[in-house]
């Protein structure tokens, strides 16, 4: 009996992996804007598992390795690749690129190139939901590198103190750029750190996307009620830090072992056991490859921003002042939520 959930989760993993391959091709063809491309191959299951457990209204911030999370939350790969290529049709008009992609409508409050930089924003979003009575959760995704940043602990403290609907998700890929986790962190007891602030803590493997989704759903249910939580999900970064990094700082045996922990292969095996045929799986691969090829072509062909656009968006265009509260809220995130008598 083939599970629809298993199939959908596999397709999401596959889309991310294929997307990341196209990002690499874009780079090799000289079509990417700059050299800052951080692939998340090997980290697809934490991205898909948590993203699939979230509700459409929930918001999130990501780190500079966040392509997969955004894609799993419903991003259009065309506009993503266009953004990575620095094109006007990209999510951020070609001003943000790979490390600063965002989409207000999908609740993506921004990828951040400062390690840990976006974590405090979910605390603020949680405060908005609490005060405006929005039944949403805000989720911060970050890597193990951010575990040594002070703002994470300031954020955990405030989220717990104010009982905010906030989930902190550490996708532990074992390396902060070229430094292995145990060379950067005096203690590896990350869950204890979170628990010491009164957060719900969970540590798990990021190999099985279905397990991640199941755990995330349970945790999010609590979080939605104002119980902030922390998840540490272990996986392995298949490639180097950025596109050109061949990771000379890593042991080859370690890499080979690490790459055996492949969330895609794990889910594919599960589907084959459930009775999916190889030819059916091939057809999925073909479909996803076509989707991503189309996105790549779009990114390469769509137009460059006009030069004058560099001066736009530094400040808001002149609005009629004072702007009404309602129209500001509409622009903020939730046009469907009435403020009512929130205060």
């Amino acid at each position: 009996m083939i599970s629809e959930n298993s199939r959908l989760l596999y397709l999401q993993l596959l889309r991310i992996r294929t997307f990341e391959d196209r990002v690499g091709e874009l780079f090799l063809q000289g079509g990417s804007a700059g050299t800052m491309l951080h692939l998340s191959i090997g980290e697809e299951a934490p991205a898909v598992g948590v993203a699939e457990a979230m509700e459409p209204r929930d918001s999130f911030t990501t780190h500079h390795r966040g392509h997969g999370i955004f894609l799993a939350r419903g991003a259009d790969p065309k506009r993503m690749l266009a953004e990575i290529a620095g094109k006007e049709a990209g999510y951020c008009r070609g001003k943000g690129g790979s490390m600063h992609i965002a989409d207000r409508k999908l609740g993506h409050l921004g990828a951040n190139a400062i390690v840990g930089g976006g974590i405090p924003h979910v605390v603020g979003a949680g405060l908005s939901y609490q005060l405006l009575k929005v039944p949403a959760v805000s989720v911060a995704f970050f890597g193990d590198g951010a575990m040594q940043q002070g703002n994470l602990y300031e954020s955990m403290n405030l989220a717990a103190l104010w009982k905010l609907p906030v989930l902190f998700v550490c996708i532990n890929n074992q390396y902060g750029m070229g430094t292995r986790l145990d060379q950067a962190s005096a203690s590896l007891e990350f869950v204890k750190r979170a628990e010491s602030f009164g957060l719900v803590g969970k540590e798990m493997s990021g190999l099985d996307v279905e397990e991640v989704k199941k755990e995330a759903m349970e945790i999010l249910e609590m979080t939605r009620e104002g119980k902030p939580a922390f998840m540490k999900i272990d996986c392995y970064r298949f490639h180097g830090h950025a596109r050109k990094d061949k990771s000379p700082y890593r042991d080859q045996n370690e890499e080979a072992e690490g790459r055996k922990k492949d969330p895609l292969k794990f889910q594919a095996d599960r589907l084959l056991e459930q009775g999916v045929s190889v030819s059916e799986m091939d057809s999925w691969h073909k479909k996803v490859a076509d989707e991503m090829d189309e996105a790549l072509n779009f990114a390469l062909e769509t137009q460059e921003p006009v030069l004058n656009s560099m001066f736009e968006d530094v400040y808001a265009p002149n609005l009629t002042h004072p702007e009404s509260v309602g129209s500001r809220i509409d622009r903020a995130l939730y046009s469907d939520i009435l403020l009512g008598d929130s205060r």
């Binding site: 918001s59 951020c92 924003h121 603020g124 808001a316 509260v325």
Partner: protein, 325 residues
């Protein structure tokens, strides 16, 4: 005419803004039960409740970072940093996050927040509680910067700032809070416009915040010597009203820039360079600068007072500019 203290004007501006906009939330160190280290938020907790006037831990990065996130998602936070010196702890959230979110994200996301703080000398609070750090803010595209010099501007600027769609840094002066000023909001120019605080034909002083007061006092003394000094109060450093500045400069041909922040790479350097570039052929003399000394602020009252422009030192600079020394 009605009088009001700078502190009361700020509080009234905040209170009326909160009454008009139910999404304004005040976050900060000691803003609630204590009523604000300088008393600006006193009584607001009682009026609006502890959900909307929130004491935070002494934890500046999350204070500013949470304000950024809240602003992105529907609230209009007013974050208070007790002293502007503490901005260092929140610099990533201010400079890399708040200031750049609209731009990096292609105009999709607004950050309508305010960061209120106070700076300057005058209470012997020494090197870590007395700085004037406006140049750091002014150097960052994406931020608005208001620095009121009197009660009327404290009130009108804070009220206007709380309708803007972008982050505003609102810097008050610790030496002004307890002072009373004539209060006449109808007389104030709009946001982004400087005002001529005193009219004169012989030379122009360009200044803001507490230095307006000192410049006005120096100008009054100069009038007794027959020199008519025009005093231009910038009110906001972003937007910067070069139109009003230029008009004054071209009228008088002599310019003294007076700021409390330290001289090197300070606001006075920027103003002086712009005035010179845009008005070179109208200048009778090179633009002069009076600014804080390039030292950390010392605690000894006599040293502290001597480390920033005084009425007397401003007067001496005007005499120099008029070649009357």
């Amino acid at each position: 005419m009605k009088e009001m203290t700078y502190r009361d004007a700020l509080r009234l501006g905040l209170q009326e803004s909160m009454q008009a906009d139910p999404t304004i939330v005040i976050l900060g160190e000691e803003v609630g039960r204590y009523g604000g280290a300088y008393g600006v938020t006193k009584g607001l907790l009682q009026e609006f409740g502890e959900d909307w006037v929130r004491d935070t831990p002494i934890s500046e990065e999350i204070l500013v970072g949470a304000a950024v996130g809240a602003a992105m998602t529907g609230l209009r936070p007013v974050a208070e940093l007790m002293y502007v010196d503490f901005i260092t702890l929140a610099m990533d959230q201010l400079v890399n996050q708040a200031a750049k979110i609209r731009y990096m994200f292609g105009g999709q996301i607004s950050v309508p927040m305010m960061l209120r703080s106070q700076g300057g000398t005058g209470r012997s609070a020494a090197a870590q509680h007395s700085q004037s750090l406006e140049a750091w803010v002014m150097h960052t595209p994406g931020l608005h910067l208001a620095m009121p010099a009197d009660a009327t501007d404290a009130y009108v600027l804070i009220k206007h700032a709380l309708t803007l769609a972008d982050p505003v840094i609102f810097l008050e002066h610790k030496g002004l809070y307890a002072q009373s000023f004539p209060f006449n909001p109808e007389s104030a120019p709009p946001w982004g416009r400087a005002k001529i605080s005193r009219s004169g034909n012989d030379c122009s002083i360009i200044c803001y915040s507490r230095m307006v007061q000192r410049s006005l006092e120096a100008a009054a003394q100069m009038a007794e010597l027959g020199v008519q000094v025009e005093v231009v109060d910038l009110r906001t450093l972003h937007p910067l009203d070069m139109e009003t500045v230029t008009k004054s400069v071209r009228k008088t041909g002599r310019v003294l820039v007076v700021t409390e922040d330290c001289l090197t790479a300070g606001v006075s350097a920027e103003l002086s360079a712009r005035i010179t570039e845009e008005n070179f052929e109208y200048l009778e003399e090179p633009v002069l600068r009076m600014a804080g000394e390039d030292i950390p602020i010392p605690v000894a009252p006599a040293l502290e007072a001597a480390s920033v422009p005084t009425n007397e030192s401003i007067k001496q600079s005007i005499l120099k500019l008029m070649r009357k020394k």
